[in-house]
C-alpha cells in the first residue's frame, strides 16, 4: 500500500514534520527539582519513539487503547504522544477517578494498557484487575511507596524506557515509518463525560481535533515562538485541545509546572504566552490578589483601588466604544505602571497574549477585573462532543456577558425552547457506552443539543444563561436562573461557591461555601480566633461579613430589575463543597442535585423559617455530624419590600 508521505493530518505526522522543520526549537519545558529542562522537537520526537517502541514491545497494538491516570505531567504527555505514534488510542482520566469508573472505562474501551502516575493510581488499577480482564500492563511513573510491589503487570516508566539516550536521527527515521501507518480518521482520544450518573466515552479522530485546533489557532496567531502552560487534566477535552492538539498543530512549546502547588511561582518564571484556566481558578487568583493587597494595607491598597477603578472605566469604555477623558488616560498610564504591571509580573502574565477560561460561566465583573489588569482573559465555550472550540471571544470585541462568536466552521442556532444547538466539523466520531459503540446523537443533519440555554445577538455573539435543567421558575411563575446570581456572589474573595435555591419556592435562599483562607485571614486581622472551617463559619462576625456582601448583590439585582432573585436567607456551609464528596464535578461545576439532596434538611429549614438547624445523621461526612448551623436573614435591596407588601 502506497501512502502519501509527509502529511500533517495525524498527530504523529505533525510531530515528524516539527522534528524536521522546527528541529532545535523548544518543544517541551518542564520544571523538575527546581530547574527548568527543555527538550527540542527533535529530542522530543526521539524520546517519543523510544517510549513507543518500548510500549510496542510490551504488547500495545495499533488500534488498542491506553487508559491514562494522573496529572498533566511531562511523562504522561510523552506517553500520550507515544500512544498516538503507535496508532493506539489515548483515554485520559481524571486523577481522582474512582476504581469503579476506571474499571468501566477499561471495559468500555477494551484498554490493554494503562499509564499511572503514582502509587495512588496504581493501587486503583490493581484493585480493578479482576473486573477489567483486558488490562495487561500498567506503566507507572513515580515508584515512591511501591518498592515492594511485585505484580507481573507492573512496569516502571524508567525501566520501560531504559536509561539509554536515544540515537536521535535513527529514532526519528523509525518514527517517520511509524507515522506513515496512521490515517486522519483513526481514533485518537476517548474522553469520558458523565451525565445523570452514567459515563460515556466520546471518541475523537485525529482529524476532528487537529481541525478544531487549527481553526482556533487561526483566530489569534499562535506559533512556534510561543509558550503555553499546561497543568489542567488532559481528561478534560478542552485542556487536551489546548495543551496537546493545538501545540502539535502549530508547533508551540508546552511547559509544565513542577507541581500544581507551585503553579503560580512557575508561571512567573516561565511567563507563558497562552494559558487555559477555569473560572474557579481565576476566582482563586483574584481572591489571592485581594487578600494580599488587603493584608499589605496602607498606601499600596489605596493606589491599588484607585488604579483598578480607572482601569475598569477603561475596559467599560472599550466595551461601549467610547473614549476616556484625557485625565483618565494619563491616570491610567500612571496607575498601569504602579498597579497593573507589578501584578501582571507577580502572576507571570507579562507576556500573556491570551488567558482562556472555559468550563463554566465567568461573571462579567470577574472578567473585567482581569482585563482591567491588562490580562487578556477570554472565554471559550464548547462541549466535548464537538471538539470544544465552538465559540471564542475575539480580541477587540470582548463583551463581558458573551462567550464570543462561533469558531470557523461552527454553526450556532437557538432552538425553540432556548437551547443552544451546535453544528461543528469537530463532531466526535462515536460514543462509547457500556452497551457498545454508537454514532453521536444529533438532530436535523448534525445539530448537537448542548443542554445550555442561551441567546445570540446581532453580531453573532453567544451568551449562555444557564444549564437548561437548572433553569426553573419560582412559585409565582417568574423564570429564575441560579447561575448568574451565584457567579455574582462568587465575585467576593470571601465566597468560594454559592448555591442558590429558588425554583418552585416563593423566595430565594443561598447556601454559601466560604473561601476559608480569605475569610480566615480577614478573621486574623480582626483578632478573631477559630480552630477550623466549621469554627470559622460559626463566627457571628464572619456571617455579618457575608451578609453584607449578599446585601450588596441584592441591591445590584434590584437595580437591574431582577428584584425577584434577591436572596432572603442564607447559611454558611460548615464544610467545603468538594469534588471528592461528590458536590462538584471535576471541572468545578456544582452538582446541584447532589447538593440539594445532601443539604435537604438545611434547605427545608431555610425556607421553613427556623433560626438554626442541626446537621444530623443525614450528612455522610462524620465531621459534620451533629453540627448546628445557624441561618441568617439578609437585608433586601429595596424592591424586596414591595414584594413583601404585595
Amino acid at each position: 500500500m502506497v501512502k502519501r508521505t509527509g502529511g500533517t493530518e495525524t498527530f504523529p505526522k505533525l510531530l515528524v514534520s516539527h522534528a524536521a522543520r522546527l528541529a532545535d526549537a523548544p518543544a517541551l519545558s518542564q520544571k523538575r527539582r527546581g530547574i527548568w529542562h527543555t527538550m527540542t522537537w527533535r529530542e522530543l520526537a526521539a524520546e517519543i519513539e523510544t517510549v513507543a517502541a518500548a510500549l510496542e514491545a510490551r504488547g500495545l497494538e495499533r488500534g488498542g487503547t491506553v487508559v491514562l491516570l494522573g496529572d498533566n505531567r511531562p511523562r504522561l504527555y510523552v506517553t500520550l504522544c507515544a500512544i498516538h505514534a503507535l496508532g493506539a488510542v489515548a483515554a485520559p482520566m481524571f486523577h481522582d477517578a474512582k476504581p469503579a469508573e476506571v474499571a468501566a472505562a477499561i471495559n468500555m474501551t477494551g484498554a490493554t494498557h494503562a499509564y499511572a502516575q503514582d502509587q495512588e493510581q496504581v493501587d486503583k488499577l490493581l484493585e480493578v484487575l479482576g473486573a477489567a480482564p483486558s488490562l495487561q500492563t500498567v506503566v507507572f511513573d513515580e515508584d515512591k511507596g511501591m518498592r515492594h510491589y511485585r505484580h507481573a503487570q507492573l512496569v516502571g516508566y524508567d525501566m520501560l524506557r531504559g536509561d539509554q539516550e536515544p540515537d536521535i536521527p535513527a529514532a526519528i527515521a523509525s518514527l517517520v515509518d511509524r507515522a506513515e501507518l496512521g490515517e486522519a480518521q483513526d481514533d485518537a482520544f476517548v474522553f469520558f463525560t458523565e451525565s445523570g450518573g452514567t459515563t460515556k466515552g466520546v471518541v475523537h479522530s485525529h482529524a476532528s481535533l487537529i481541525g478544531r485546533a487549527r481553526a482556533a489557532a487561526g483566530i489569534e496567531y499562535c506559533g512556534p515562538e510561543h509558550v503555553v502552560m499546561a497543568f489542567l487534566s488532559p481528561a478534560w477535552s478542552c485542556q487536551t485541545l489546548f495543551g496537546y492538539a493545538q501545540p502539535m498543530a502549530v508547533g508551540t512549546c508546552v511547559c509544565f509546572p513542577e507541581s500544581i502547588d507551585t503553579l503560580l511561582a512557575d508561571l512567573r518564571e516561565m511567563a507563558p504566552h497562552y494559558f487555559l484556566s477555569t473560572p474557579r481558578m481565576l476566582d482563586a487568583i483574584a481572591s489571592r490578589i485581594s487578600v494580599r493587597i488587603e493584608e499589605s494595607g496602607g498606601i499600596g491598597r489605596t493606589i491599588y483601588h484607585r488604579g483598578l477603578d480607572i482601569a475598569r472605566r477603561a475596559v467599560e469604555a472599550e466595551a461601549a466604544g467610547t473614549k476616556l477623558s484625557i485625565g483618565d488616560r494619563v491616570a491610567r498610564a500612571i496607575y498601569g505602571k504602579l498597579v497593573s504591571r507589578p501584578i501582571r509580573d507577580a502572576l507571570g502574565m507579562t507576556r500573556i497574549r491570551a488567558a482562556y477560561t472555559a468550563g463554566d460561566a465567568i461573571d462579567p465583573a470577574r472578567l473585567a477585573f482581569f482585563r482591567a489588569l491588562g490580562i487578556n482573559v477570554k472565554q471559550v465555550y464548547g462541549s466535548t462532543e464537538t471538539g470544544y472550540f465552538d465559540t471564542m471571544q475575539r480580541n477587540g470585541e470582548v463583551k463581558a456577558n458573551s462567550v464570543g462568536r462561533a469558531v470557523d466552521g461552527v454553526e450556532l442556532t437557538i432552538a425553540d425552547d432556548g437551547e443552544v444547538m451546535v453544528r461543528s466539523p469537530g463532531l466526535c466520531k462515536a460514543i462509547l457506552a457500556a452497551e457498545g459503540r454508537s454514532a453521536p446523537e444529533t438532530v436535523d443533519g448534525g445539530w448537537l443539543a448542548t443542554g445550555d440555554v442561551g441567546e445570540i445577538d446581532a453580531m453573532g455573539n453567544l451568551s449562555i444563561v444557564d444549564r437548561k435543567r437548572d433553569i426553573g421558575s419560582m412559585a409565582d411563575g417568574t423564570a429564575f436562573a441560579p447561575r448568574p446570581v451565584e457567579n455574582r456572589l462568587r465575585l467576593s474573595p470571601n465566597v468560594r461557591e454559592a448555591v442558590i435555591v429558588g425554583a418552585g419556592r416563593d423566595q430565594v435562599c443561598a447556601l454559601i461555601d466560604i473561601h476559608a483562607s480569605a475569610v480566615g485571614s480577614w478573621a486574623d486581622t480582626q483578632g478573631l480566633t477559630y480552630t477550623g472551617h466549621a469554627d470559622l463559619v460559626a463566627l457571628p462576625a464572619a456571617c455579618d461579613l457575608i451578609a453584607g456582601e449578599i446585601a450588596a448583590v441584592n441591591r445590584a439585582l434590584v437595580s437591574e430589575g431582577k428584584g425577584h432573585a434577591q436572596i432572603k436567607r442564607f447559611v454558611l456551609l460548615p464544610a467545603e463543597l468538594s469534588v471528592e464528596d461528590g458536590m462538584l464535578t471535576r471541572s468545578g461545576r456544582l452538582r446541584r442535585d447532589a447538593i440539594l439532596d445532601r443539604y435537604s434538611g438545611l434547605i427545608d429549614a431555610l425556607f421553613g423559617g427556623a433560626a438554626e438547624v442541626a446537621l444530623g445523621g443525614g450528612a455522610p461526612d462524620e465531621g459534620e455530624g451533629g453540627a448546628v448551623v445557624r441561618i441568617h436573614d439578609v437585608a433586601a435591596g429595596g424592591a424586596g419590600e414591595k414584594r413583601r407588601a404585595a
Binding site: 527546581g34 511507596g145 518498592r147 515492594h148 507541581s259 502547588d261 507551585t262
Partner: protein, 277 residues
C-alpha cells in the same frame, strides 16, 4: 479503621518483600542509667535497634522517652551504660559526634531555622557534606561549585520526595505546624542519616496530618532504608507503623517486642493503658 491501618496491612503482607530487609543491630544500648541530681530519669535500660527497622519507644508522659532519645543523640551523657553504634563502642556521644556517625533527629517542639527558607533549612542539613573552605566558596572554585550543586540536587530530591516544592522559598516561620514538621523531617533526611530519631513526630497534629506523617515515615524507610527510632506517648498510629516497640515507664523498661506482643503484655496494659484510659 483509618488510613494508617490500611498502610500497615499492606506492609505486613509484604513484609518478606521489603525493599530493605531488616538486618542486624545498628544501635545497641546496654544498661543505660541517667540521673539528674537525685532524679533517676533512666534506670538500666537495654535494647537494640536493627538496621532498616522502625523502632518505637512509647510510654506515658514522664516515662523517660525524651531522655532516652537525648542519650542516643548525645545531648545527655548517661552515668552508666554502653552505646554501640554499627558495631563500634561509642565512649562519649555528643550531638556533633552523633551527626557525624549518621544519627539525625527531629525535635518535639520543632527546631527549625525559622528565619531561613525551607530550601535553606534543608541545605543546612547538608552541612556535613560541605568541605570547601571560605576562600573556595568566595572564589567559587570548582570544589565549592560541585559541592553546592550536589547538595542542592540532594535537597531538591528531598523536597520532591516530601512534596514541598511549593514552599521551597518560604521562610519556615510562615508555615503551618504540620508543614514545619515535614520540613524538619526533610532537614534531618538531608544528612542522609543511617538512623533517624523522631521526637513525637505526630504531637499536636490532626488525624489527617498524622496519616500524612506516617506515610512519609514509611516511604522514607522503604525508599532510603533509613532506620527510625521514634517516640510517642500516644499509642495509636505509631504502634501501627512500628516493627518493634520498647515501652518505658518511670524510667524503666517494662516491655519490648512487636506491637502485638506489647499490646498483650500485662505490665504494659497496667502501667500504660491503665493510665491512658
Amino acid at each position: 479503621m483509618n488510613a494508617a491501618d490500611v498502610i500497615v496491612t499492606e506492609v505486613a503482607q509484604d513484609a518478606q518483600a521489603r525493599a530493605f530487609p531488616i538486618g542486624g543491630p545498628i544501635l545497641d544500648l546496654d544498661g543505660i542509667s541517667l540521673r539528674f541530681g537525685g532524679v533517676h530519669a533512666l534506670t538500666g535500660i537495654s535494647f537494640d535497634v536493627l538496621e532498616h527497622e522502625i523502632r518505637a519507644i512509647i510510654g506515658p508522659n514522664g516515662a523517660g522517652k525524651s531522655s532516652m532519645l537525648n542519650v542516643i543523640n548525645g545531648l545527655y551523657t548517661p552515668q552508666e551504660g554502653k552505646i554501640t553504634f554499627a558495631g563500634q563502642r561509642v565512649s562519649r556521644m555528643s550531638p556533633n559526634k552523633a551527626a557525624e556517625l549518621g544519627i539525625s533527629r527531629t525535635f518535639q517542639n520543632i527546631a527549625l531555622f525559622r528565619r531561613m527558607s525551607v530550601l535553606d533549612n534543608i541545605m543546612a542539613g547538608r552541612k556535613l557534606f560541605s568541605h570547601a573552605n571560605f576562600l573556595e566558596v568566595a572564589l567559587q572554585l570548582p570544589r565549592a561549585r560541585r559541592e553546592e550543586s550536589e547538595n542542592r540536587a540532594k535537597a531538591e530530591e528531598i523536597i520532591e520526595f516530601l512534596e514541598i516544592e511549593h514552599i521551597r522559598r518560604t521562610p519556615v516561620s510562615r508555615l503551618p505546624y504540620g508543614l514545619q514538621k515535614r520540613v524538619e523531617l526533610g532537614r534531618a533526611l538531608a544528612a542522609e542519616p543511617k538512623v533517624l530519631l523522631l521526637d513525637e513526630p505526630m504531637a499536636g497534629m490532626n488525624v489527617e496530618e498524622k496519616q500524612d506523617m506516617c506515610r512519609y515515615i514509611l516511604d522514607v524507610n522503604e525508599h532510603y532504608g533509613t532506620t527510625f527510632v521514634l517516640i510517642e506517648h500516644d499509642m495509636g498510629v505509631v504502634m501501627d507503623i512500628s516493627d518493634r516497640v520498647v515501652v518505658l515507664d518511670y524510667g524503666k523498661k517494662i516491655g519490648d517486642g512487636t506491637p502485638n506482643e506489647v499490646r498483650s503484655n500485662q505490665d504494659v496494659i497496667d502501667a500504660y493503658l491503665g493510665v491512658s484510659h
